[in-house]
Subunit: 404 residues, 2 copies
């Protein structure tokens, strides 16, 4: 593989950083305060793809957006916060459809090219009069991305946005994204929304494949499979303004795009984790040597979501027993007599046996901003990375100081 | 089926309430303070059966006790808290074996008839000199059950014990139990131990079947499948002192015994839930009309373990959307358009449609000590009950007041 161009952050970047995107937001009164409605639009039609909640109960905007994406095309997204438009039956679908019609008319584009997402309270109808006034009042500008990132938040304490520049096949390109999570233990038990824009040209097949792979290594690595809300939505809009030849899955440039897309998605996912309930730091878990990648993912996620591990991280307690226990109940194939385990750079277990280790040095590895736990199962080639946040406050009094 | 005798609580009862059981506890220095070692013993050999952790990493006492139970017989159990004797390899097995030998010698019984359980820190060796002195110093008495219940606690805030009397086939019998849980979100992510004694005579086959069934409707209904610690152990010791003919699975009296055993196990499991992290009340979720009992269990447990539901209960917020969302991601088969949902006596959804309901009345249903949520899926005959506790404090500020 050719060496890849570096991926550079765009300071202050947002979904309007890629060429040809505009955005705008407003407060229309769905939430108690703060911006609650936004539009992201492209000057050109985009190749579009999405990943959606696996919940059996799917909100109206999810149902509608999935339908709209069957032609792999979109040109705008409208998003509201404060009302999830979920469990709203036929009226919810009618309201979601009207949201897209309002935006299509405002922008002079086809209604089929407008997607919609919602987050907030379940089981109440959208206040459509407010939405109508809101859509009418939104100004779309080339620096409106930061404002849009504010309009999708609910219990989040801060906006989450990122943009990067890189070169793909000699073409300078930009990718950007915004996300919302929620202050919960498993971040996506409340709605997770994320919208990624880029000026790269993609084939529809590759766009679908790339966004799914990016979801697997990012948002799906900060949660437990299946714990998804009614509204979870991740969308990719690629408008081709960079002028590169369309990237297909088998092209050499595909890996370069995937790396850039993954970096945007991972950065957003980590922001969601760090904005979790009372979190003070994020930790990364790398599982190697699993029977397969699926086993590795199970093990890594079990560690990142274990309340006992999370409190140990918070308390700077290198409690490797809790890590091993989480791996043990994860469902992954494990032979306790073969496990290696390290906290940061400090090796604690080798072949399942405790090494003489400096407890203070191991504890110090948990203090920094870049906490890493590594587990090697020595059963195969499977590997995965997941991220979790620490658990603080009253959990600590019960659990974090239990061994030290 | 003949009408069953009533099951009466024994006030102040403990594992020594059934005839022919003695117990005692001591502080030997494994924990920082409080009793940390106990023995429960029967005057007669018991029919014994157990249910153990499904974790791939199993502590030494679990491995040893499973072996000892292959003959379905036991006469004593020794339990320590403060050290889990898990991830301790061969030395851990040797130490667990020595614990049982010390007790066998003290009581003059066969070492094969002594079981062992441990809870506490993982990955450290038992301080065997302290254990030897501890076992030697324990006095076993017919009212020692209350003391024993204290010696198995770790992060628990209070002991958990219960005893009941009933009549089975004309014989007055007693069943009793004690348990420990932990202050965690999923109670059995930290070790769950429980020991149930009875003077009923059981066949070994029925004992094994009965304790497994009791576990399913009690301890397994307060946790998420698979999230089990290295040490989880539930043991049943039946010494036959009541003089009834041995109860086999096909006997008419089997259902009477099962009902009494279930009531003891459920009571203990509810105590474990109520002692959960910051819990102020317990709530019961009944799922009816599922495709099967397994689906019903999945749905009920998803609701009881959902942080969003738990905070809603704490905040007296009849947030039915969160309940439906949890059912949706549980993996159970669900048709959102057919779901009935009630909070206490207040029906909120019928066939998936919101009924006009009194929000204050629904909120009041969440205030009492006996909170019940009912979900009817209208897809089959499957049913299950699960229990959860509310989530308090900082979770509330973010989630509980979100809709009201």
């Amino acid at each position: 593989m050719a060496s890849m161009a570096s991926i550079e952050p765009v300071v202050g970047g947002s979904v309007t950083s890629p060429r040809g995107f505009r955005a705008g937001a407003t407060y229309c009164g769905i939430k108690k305060g703060g911006r609650d409605l936004c539009i992201i639009a492209s000057d050109l039609p985009c190749t579009a793809a999405g990943v959606f909640t696996t919940n059996r109960v799917q909100a109206a905007p999810v149902v509608l957006t999935r339908q709209r994406l069957t032609n792999d095309r979109a040109q705008a997204v409208v998003v509201n916060s404060g009302c999830a438009n979920a469990c709203t039956h036929q009226r919810g679908l009618t309201d979601a459809d009207e949201m897209t019609r309002l935006v299509a008319e405002k922008l002079g584009i086809a209604v089929d090219d407008v997607l919609v997402a919602s987050t907030g309270v379940i089981g109440v109808y959208l206040p459509m009069e407010k939405v109508r006034r809101g859509v009418a009042g939104i100004d779309l500008t080339a620096d409106g991305g930061a404002d849009a990132a504010l309009a999708i938040l609910t219990t989040d304490t801060r906006p989450k946005r990122v943009a990067v520049r890189t070169t793909i096949g000699g073409h300078a390109v930009t990718l950007a994204g915004m996300a919302k999570g929620a202050g919960m233990i498993h971040p996506n038990m409340a709605t997770m929304l994320s919208f990624i824009t880029t000026d790269v040209t993609l084939t529809p097949d590759f766009a679908r494949q790339a966004i799914r792979r990016a979801a697997d290594v990012s948002f799906n690595a900060i949660s437990v499979d299946g714990d998804t809300s009614t509204n979870d939505t991740l969308l990719l809009l690629a408008n081709g303004a960079a002028g590169n030849p369309p990237i297909a899955a088998h092209d050499q440039t595909a890996a370069e795009f995937q790396a850039a897309l993954d970096s945007v998605a991972v950065e957003l996912a980590k922001m969601v984790v760090l904005d979790g309930e009372g979190a003070t730091r994020i930790f990364q878990v790398d599982v190697l040597g699993a029977r397969g990648d699926a086993d590795a993912r199970r093990a890594a996620r079990a560690v990142t979501t274990s309340p006992l591990v999370k409190t140990a991280v918070h308390g700077n307690d290198p409690n490797w027993g809790r890590i091993l226990c989480a791996v043990g109940y994860s469902g992954a194939d494990v032979d306790p007599e073969r496990v290696d385990l390290a906290v940061g750079d400090v090796c604690i277990l080798r072949d399942g046996h405790l090494l003489p280790f400096d407890r203070q040095a191991a504890s110090n590895q948990l203090r920094g901003p870049d906490v890493r736990l590594t587990v090697h199962l020595h059963l195969g080639d499977g590997r995965a990375t997941a991220w979790g946040c620490d658990l603080s406050k009253e959990y600590v009094t019960i659990n974090a100081e239990y061994t030290t």
